[in-house]
């Protein structure tokens, strides 16, 4: 046995596993992927009362050991010790939703039957009580033959007892080592037993809480449900722009201040230029979008934690069916609004392979947060800050329009793909609608911190490196007097070729220059433009002027609109391409994705430009 002891949380989806995991391990979690598959591996450290640390892993939710998705397959393999490179968990912690015993005990019995040291966490017992259920944990313990600890993860109730039970189970694991598997029951037998055990553990039961039914009556209403969903999404997008502004302004001022300080401290020359024009202009212009990304993720995480996300999938199923997909595709696509990478990874919950492939191929069309910097800077520069109705700003409306363009593009692409490259029978839609829950602030904050960290790490690594390389390419060789620095530079010469290609769709040299490094990540386009114009600025004052005002002075409106249209479609993200390759096991589909999305980008940027020019904009 290798050094560290380990244990794993198993249970049905919606048993409150993640909340229990957060409560047991705190914020120090390691999130990675299981090798070979893109199923998220969440690991954290739990300290036993004895002071011994235990590695705790949060396995994907499963309904049984007969897997019907890659998620469930991982859970089965890890628990059975068949996952190469992954230690077999010594102790299994089965998490049950106390209000849903009859269903959750079906899988719990399967886990307990393995005969390994097992502890049952009877979770969300407060919700069960509120629902009018009075449970007897002792009766459950006797029926199951393993320790049962009532817990309320979100209120940290029962955690001490649970950890103590885990310690006793770990001691058992060390002492015996041998498993005592119990006879295998068939599914109907387990289901019957589950019903009986649940009945035995329920002391009294009153009618189900009316709150959930009442909420669903409104939120799942045949006519009101969808308008409510769309209204909610509209509010989210308005909020992303309105609420983030003061924070973004603050960050921008901070970057400007640091830049000033550096200019004052360092002597004029290579190092000072590298820091102010390269690093601060480039990375700084991307970091200022952190507030918007955090706000967007806050809404997505709250929708997931509250149980509304599954309702959104339910409401969207009919429409998704229309383009050959199911409501299940809605959740990955909505996640792609934040970032296509978690979105594409979330497709693993789609059982049907053709549905899944189609969803992966259209996910990059959803407007990810990396496009926000690009959209935001163009909108700020070219769209007036007017209002077009009570509480509706024109800028927010344009942003909403860009999101809609991405969604419509994705739907049309799905329709076409489903009839051509991913042709086949349509799949079904089967999904549990979890009970509503008030999201807990701490869980939201942990999720937000993880997302923000991923973004900052990208800004600090990919964007930092690309920006510096670009700045070097832009700064050398030095221009002769009277010659533009951009024209003289290596980068300027490089972009000549591409400029010829993109010139018909209204793109200038600087854009061509920005598109090359933006292959790494879309938001680099903003950093590149900022770096280019900083280098090209006639004096310090002009360089200090915001990128938005630089752009509005240098670009025509048709060019700006064509640039927006380009970014609705262009698959400019190396990480997305990499994750697509891993998810589809080869280069065929990422190559296809690149080809069809770049073609769309070129065509639609061109159409936008020519139309705008014809209209005399």
């Amino acid at each position: 046995m290798s050094g560290l002891r380990n244990a794993a949380l198993v249970g049905n989806p919606n048993a409150g596993k993640s909340a229990l995991f957060n409560a047991l391990t705190g914020a120090r979690q390691k999130i990675a992927n299981y090798p070979g598959v893109t199923v998220e591996r969440k690991a954290g450290r739990l300290v036993l009362p004895s002071g011994e640390p235990v590695e705790l892993i949060d396995l994907p939710g499963a309904y049984s050991f007969e897997p019907s998705s890659p998620d469930e397959e991982v859970t089965r393999k890890v628990v059975h010790g068949e996952f190469a490179g992954e230690a077999t968990p010594e102790v299994l912690i089965v998490v049950l939703d106390a209000a849903n015993l009859e269903q959750h005990l079906v899988f719990a019995q399967e886990v307990i039957a393995l005969g390994r040291p097992t502890v049952v966490a009877l979770n969300m017992i407060d919700m069960a009580e509120r629902d009018g259920l009075v449970l007897d944990p002792n009766a459950l313990e006797q029926a199951l033959g393993v320790p049962v600890v009532p817990t309320v993860a979100v209120r940290r109730r029962g955690l001490t007892e649970l950890v103590a039970a885990i310690q006793r189970a770990e001691a058992r694991a060390e002492g015996e080592g041998d498993d005592h598997p119990q006879p295998h029951l068939t599914l109907p037998e387990r289901r019957l037993a589950a019903a009986n055990i649940a009945k035995g553990a329920i002391l009294s039961e009153t009618a189900q809480h009316r709150l959930h039914a009442g909420l669903d009556k409104v939120l799942l209403h045949p006519w009101l449900g969808l308008p409510i969903l769309f209204a909610l999404l509209f509010v989210v997008f308005q909020a992303v722009f309105a609420w983030a502004t003061p924070f973004a302004d603050g960050l921008e001022a901070l970057v400007a201040l640091v830049s000033e300080q550096v200019s004052a401290l360092l002597p004029a020359g290579f190092v000072r230029d590298l820091i102010t024009e390269g690093v601060l202009a480039g990375v700084g212009s991307v970091v200022v979008f952190l507030p918007q990304i955090v706000i967007l993720f806050a809404f997505i995480l709250a929708m997931e934690a509250s149980g509304y996300m599954a309702r959104a999938a339910y409401l969207m199923d009919r429409m998704m069916q229309g383009v050959g997909l199911s409501g299940r595709s809605f959740i990955p696509l909505l996640s792609s609004v934040a970032c296509a990478i978690p979105g594409i990874m979330a497709t693993r919950s789609i059982a049907d392979p053709r549905d899944r492939l189609t969803t992966i191929l259209i996910a990059p069309l959803m407007t990810c947060s990396a496009r926000l910097p690009v959209y935001a800077v163009i909108i700020a520069a070219f769209i007036p800050q007017a209002t077009v109705g009570p509480g509706i700003g024109l800028q927010g409306l344009v942003l909403f329009g860009l999101y809609v363009a991405g969604i419509v593009g994705a739907m049309v692409a799905a329709l076409v793909l489903r009839r051509t490259v991913t042709k086949g029978a349509a799949s079904g839609f089967i999904m549990e609608l979890p009970r509503y829950q008030l999201p807990r602030l701490k869980d939201l904050l942990i999720g937000l911190w993880q997302r923000a960290w991923v973004f900052l790490r990208r800004a600090g690594t990919i964007i930092f490196t690309v920006t510096i390389v670009l700045w070097l390419l832009l700064s050398f060789p030095k221009a002769a007097p009277g010659e533009s620095q951009v024209d003289a530079s290596f980068a300027g010469q490089l972009s000549q070729g591409l400029a010829v290609v993109v010139q018909p769709i209204g793109f200038n040299r600087e854009i061509a220059l920005a598109l090359i490094p933006a292959m790494a990540a879309r938001e680099v386009a903003v950093a590149s433009l900022a770096t280019t114009y900083a280098v090209d600025a006639p004096d310090e004052e002009a360089a200090a002027a915001g990128l938005a005002s630089q752009l509005s002075a240098r670009w025509s409106l048709p060019t700006a609109l064509a640039f927006l249209a380009w970014f609705v479609f262009a698959p400019q993200c190396l990480s997305t391409i990499a994750v697509t390759r891993r998810e589809t096991n080869g280069w065929k589909w990422p190559a296809f994705m690149l080809a069809y999305l770049f073609s769309l980008a070129y065509i639609f940027a061109g159409l936008t430009y020519w139309t705008a020019v014809a209209l005399g904009l």
């Binding site: 269903q103 629902d131 045949p222 006519w223 449900g225 059982a351 079904g428 089967i430």
Partner: protein, 79 residues
Amino acid sequence: MTLEGLERGRRARIVAVDWDRLAPEDAARLRALGLDAGARVAVAHRGVAWGRDPIAVMIGRMTVAVRRSHAAAMEIEPL
């Protein structure tokens, strides 16, 4: 009578499921969720405006969304 035709709010028991009408993956998922012969169910919601698809089925204290085509394969007896 099938689950598809069950009135909203009315309780029923599934007496038989015609698994051959369903895709094998869908059948496995429905069984895992307990939608099988013997289960007591009720229709809580019928889907959005046009087509009224999917439908939300109550089973025990759990709510599961399924397509109408799944419900049509489930023979029920109202309680």
